[in-house]
């Protein structure tokens, strides 16, 4: 395989995803409105009710809307990851996945390219959200916007890989709404996105344990620390590890020799 072939194929996959995104404007606005509702309505109410003490990476007291911003950024990326899942199930049902899988390119390369394509879209959404949030008073360190970029790429890939793994198990497009309920909301609520973990521990010990085993918590913390020009090494290790596991399982699921795609085809043929 010539390197230029891989470059052109990668560009083609990212370009197609961007084109699809630009033509689905409602998808962009939905992705933006959701976190803004949380920030402007939910956080505004809690700003008065919930005090955030000084915890790393914060050097001083912060308002609740500042605290919740990394969680909302991660939420955008999680939704986008699930959108990747939806998009892949749609492609499979519409047949365009077959076009991708019958090209002379390794499966892992195709999946990683799709991941990057999804992350590119999610970064566009995240930075638009941060711009709007800035005008609502959420100010982050100026260099934090840039420093968070590697963290956002990593977390975006982890959620994309999770979406890809989920897509390999969804048989029909109609099942996506169920997945939304069973994956997105528990992950988001049982994490440090809305409340600090120490506060969670005070409220409920078992909920605290759920939170510390939730990869979403570590994605939020990785982004939170990156905004303040710090690296949370534990979060980095967990996010990278989860990315490797989710991606490995996705490649396996889409492998023509072993994957569950084959078993599903068999089930359909036997029916």
């Amino acid at each position: 395989m010539k390197p230029m072939h891989l470059v052109r194929a990668f560009n083609g996959i990212v370009w197609r995803e961007m084109l699809r995104f630009l033509q689905q404007r409602e998808r962009f606005f939905a992705a933006l409105v959701r976190p803004l509702v949380w920030l402007i309505i939910f956080a505004a109410g809690f700003r008065a009710a919930l005090g955030i003490s000084i915890i790393p990476p914060y050097q001083t007291y912060i308002t609740y809307d500042v605290y919740i911003t990394p969680g909302l950024v991660a939420m955008i990326q999680l939704f986008n990851g699930m959108q990747t899942s939806l998009s892949m199930v749609y492609d499979r049902e519409m047949g365009s996945m077959r076009v991708l899988l019958t090209t002379p390119l390794p499966r892992w390369f195709l999946l990683v390219s799709r991941l990057f394509a999804g992350v590119t879209v999610s970064l566009f959404q995240v930075y638009t959200f941060l711009l709007v949030a800035y005008f609502f008073g959420v100010e982050l360190p100026p260099w934090g916007y840039l420093a968070a970029l590697p963290a956002l790429i990593l977390t975006g890939m982890m959620f994309g890989a999770l979406g890809m793994l989920v897509s390999s198990t969804i048989k029909q497009l109609e099942n996506f709404a169920g997945i939304m309920n069973f994956v997105i909301f528990p992950m988001f609520f049982a994490s440090s996105a809305l409340y600090p973990l120490w506060k969670m521990r005070e409220g409920s010990l078992w909920l605290y344990y759920i939170c510390i085993y939730n990869p979403f918590t570590y994605a939020v913390e990785l982004i939170r620390f990156a905004f303040y020009l710090e690296v949370n090494w534990q979060a980095l290790a967990v996010v990278a590890g989860c990315l490797a596991v989710f991606l490995g399982l996705s490649v396996w699921a889409y492998d023509p020799s072993f994957g569950i795609q084959q078993r599903k085809a068999g089930a359909a043929a036997a029916a």
Binding site: R8, G12, W15, R16, Q24, V99, T102, P256, A265
Partner: protein, 303 residues
């Protein structure tokens, strides 16, 4: 060379190279010219292949069996597809055509037997073996929200073609299929026949040596089907492309096409279409097919 019927189906596929103009008659209909006289129109851009290479198969399927759990989908299937020839694959519902196409396109791997595309095995080379392969699926696979050009450029990128080269090939392929003027239209705005033509243009964009067509004319009206059949036969002859065409429509098969009849996972007849008909003693291809699969209703035939 005679066609053959089970149990003598182990015999070699009969074939001969056809260089002349299209004979162009549908079975049971009076022969007649379909297009003005003249040389066949070039569709793709491959150079002519020397005659000495013409007998090297572009697809070899050897002793392939496949099971879904305990259910056998393919039973020791072997055949070859040669360059410059259209090989029709006929079979009723559940015969194993889709499984066979999935194995050839490596949507999943064959655990037994061997599949080679232009002499290269996917089991050994992985996805790289799919390089000389073009596919037109039965299911529509174009992105409806993108234009014809965007769809084809996306596919060209997946095949590693540079933008300028891709655009040139795209215009030639679309022109050959009378679709050049629709290049900037969204696929959603095209009718079924035009979408099919775009899919075929995409399938030949990278000048494949082997073209797989999985019932590409399903749901199309007769004039569109006839035009597509003509294009594919021209393509095979003019550019020396080997074509494997799964179909259940007998009028898409020309007498000199190679024919494989698949029933319950086994190849029950093969040879040139006219020889298979002659061997069964049936009056036409439909009759021969019914005899071979032991059924006589439309449901048996519909794929």
């Amino acid at each position: 060379m005679k066609g053959c019927v089970e149990p003598a189906y182990q015999r070699k596929v009969g074939r001969r190279v056809v260089d002349g103009p299209i004979q162009g008659y549908l079975w049971g209909k009076k022969p007649g010219p379909r297009r003005p006289p003249g040389p066949p129109r070039k569709i793709a851009m491959q150079k002519e292949t020397p005659k000495s290479e013409a007998r090297t198969p572009v697809l070899t399927v050897k002793n392939v069996s496949y099971y879904y759990g305990s259910k056998q989908a393919l039973d020791d299937v072997s055949f070859e597809v040669f360059p410059g020839k259209v090989t029709a694959l006929l079979g009723p519902n559940g015969a194993g055509k889709t499984t066979l196409f999935s194995l050839i396109t490596r949507l999943f791997d064959a655990p037994t037997g061997r599949i080679e595309i232009v002499g290269r095995s996917a089991a050994e080379l992985g996805s790289r073996a799919l390089e000389p392969l073009g596919v037109v699926f039965q299911q529509p696979t174009l992105d409806l929200d993108l234009t014809v050009k965007q769809n084809l450029r996306y596919f060209a990128a997946l095949r590693g073609l540079a933008r300028k080269d891709a655009d040139e090939r795209m215009m030639r392929a679309l022109d050959a299929l009378d679709m050049a003027e629709r290049v900037n239209e969204r696929v959603r705005d095209l009718n079924g026949g035009h979408r099919r033509r775009v899919e075929i243009a995409r399938g030949i964009l990278h000048s494949p040596k082997l073209l797989l067509l999985d019932e590409p004319t399903v749901g199309l009206d007769v004039p569109t089907r006839t035009a597509i059949v003509r294009h594919i036969h021209e393509l095979a002859r003019a550019d020396n492309v080997g074509v494997l065409w799964a179909t259940h429509l007998f009028d898409e098969i020309e007498p000199d096409d190679d024919l494989l009849v698949l029933n319950k996972g086994r190849i029950v007849a093969r040879g040139t279409a006219k020889d298979v008909v002659a061997e069964t003693g049936a009056g036409d291809l439909g009759g021969a097919f019914r005899l071979l699969i032991g059924g006589d209703t439309e449901e048996d035939i519909a794929a």
